[in-house]
Amino acid sequence: MSKLLENHIVELLEERNEKAMSLLYDNYADTLFGVAYKVVKDEELAQDVVQESFIKIWKKSDSYDASKAKLFTWLFRITRNTAIDKLRSVSTKTDKEIQIDVSDVYNVGEQSIRPEFLDVKEHLDKIEEKYRIVLEALFFEGMTQQEASEELDIPLGTIKSRLKIGLREMRKIYGAPALVLFIISML
């Protein structure tokens, strides 16, 4: 996402212009749908989550503060929290336990994946599994570090360091120029 386009979307949001939502959808819907799917693990529920998230984004658009978070970070927080809430309300209904299933990373939605993401598995494989598990638990399972520590039976300190190293490894994988190319290819 170019900074220019991001600024343009933010300006439209501030003006309460519906065009902002169309642009947001075009640029972020697949990623946010991926987030929702990763959390709820159900296509229909994920659709509901994306719908609810976009409506929240529209309603809360005047509360977005560009100095506090990048647009994507803000969108991610809203979608992730909506998905976690959705999962909790469904789990209470079905009394289903939230379980961490690392294999989901590879199984989920691979048919509908974009061609440019075909090397996702390859990319993800480059992150050592022990780090990936922690990233998954924290980013998509809605666990706190304490909960992840208990659930994965890993000491809290290790969770913290694996999160840091895991994120750092991301940079190693893509490197700055590669990351830019990767992002450009997505626009």
């Binding site: 309460r16 519906e18 939502m21 169309s22 959808y25 075009d26 819907a29 697949d30 990623t31 946010l32 749908f33 991926g34 987030v35 799917y37 990763k38 296509e43 659709q47 994306v50 719908q51 976009f54 409506i55 529209w58 309603k59 506090k68 978070a69 990048k70 994507f72 970070t73 991610f76 927080r77 992730r80 929290n81 990373v105 989920v108 939605g109 509908s112 994946i113 974009r114 993401f117 996702v120 990319h123 993800l124 990233l135 924290l138 980013f139 998509f140 706190t144 570090q145 913290k160 999160l163 840091k164 994120l167 750092r168 991301m170 940079r171 893509y174 990351l179 990767f182 992002i183 997505m186």
Partner: protein, 252 residues
């Protein structure tokens, strides 16, 4: 300071802040550190970039038609919102009208209450007057109808030979009245005034209005051996009787 920043970066605050999982206090602290220390800002920006890159790896093509559903819902909501605002404006106008009329009625009510007090006072004064008048008429009736009442015919002296008056005196009820039936015409600047000498004191009974008082009985203060006088005085009446101008005296 270096230690403080190091400790902050070593803690998981920044990561939790990234995901929106900090409480109010932690959020305030994190935002302060980001604003104050470029190292923290840099770490936060990197975290954001990493998160975006990592999450984008999990992108899945969103289902067909989802965009249209979402945009439709949003524009419907916008319409509802504007409907709500229209309703809110209408409601405000109604409320304003209501407040306006409430004030108008309150004002009118205050005004009417004031008028009501005035009218009540007038009624009380009238009642008092009527009671006094009724009392007077009752007394007149008693005097005129009582067998003990003495009727005294009075004539004027040389100065007013045509003057005719009748006094009624009732020593039992201690009431006296006088009816001046005829008075000679006086020049414009003069008038007749009645007096009574009661127990050695001269009491002013007022000016006799030539025409109005012909039919009326005027009350005289009662006393044994009282004397009434009619004098000619300057227009408007005098404070003390002019003895030289006595036109009639009534001993009763």
């Amino acid at each position: 300071m270096k230690n403080k920043i190091h400790d902050f970066l070593e803690s998981d605050l920044l990561e939790r802040y990234l995901l929106g999982e900090t409480d109010n206090l932690e959020t305030a602290k994190t935002e302060r550190y980001i604003a104050l220390y470029p190292e923290v800002r840099k770490a936060y920006d990197e975290l954001q970039d990493n998160l975006e890159a990592y999450v984008k790896l999990h992108a899945i093509k969103a289902p067909e038609g989802l965009k249209e559903t979402i945009l439709h819902k949003i524009s419907k909501q916008k319409k509802n919102n504007s409907k709500f605002y229209r309703f809110a404006i209408a409601a405000s106008i109604v409320a304003l009208l209501f407040a306006g009329s409430a004030f108008f009625f309150y004002d009118q009510n205050q005004d009417l209450m004031e008028k009501n007090t005035i009218v009540n006072n007038k009624i009380k004064t009238l009642e008092m007057d009527m009671r006094l008048e009724l009392e007077d008429i009752r007394n007149q009736y008693i005097v005129l109808n009582n067998p003990n009442t003495k009727k005294l015919n009075i004539r004027g002296n040389k100065k007013a030979q045509e003057l005719k008056a009748v006094a009624y005196v009732n020593p039992v009820k201690k009431l006296s009245y006088i009816n001046v039936s005829h008075l000679p015409q006086l020049p414009e600047e003069q008038c007749y005034q009645m007096w009574a000498e009661v127990n050695g004191e001269m009491v002013n009974l007022g000016v006799i209005k030539q025409f109005d008082d012909k039919e009326k009985l005027l009350a005289l203060p009662y006393a044994d051996q009282a004397v009434g006088y009619i004098t000619i005085e300057p227009k408007g009446g005098n404070l003390a009787p002019s003895v030289e101008n006595i036109v009639a005296d009534i001993k009763y």
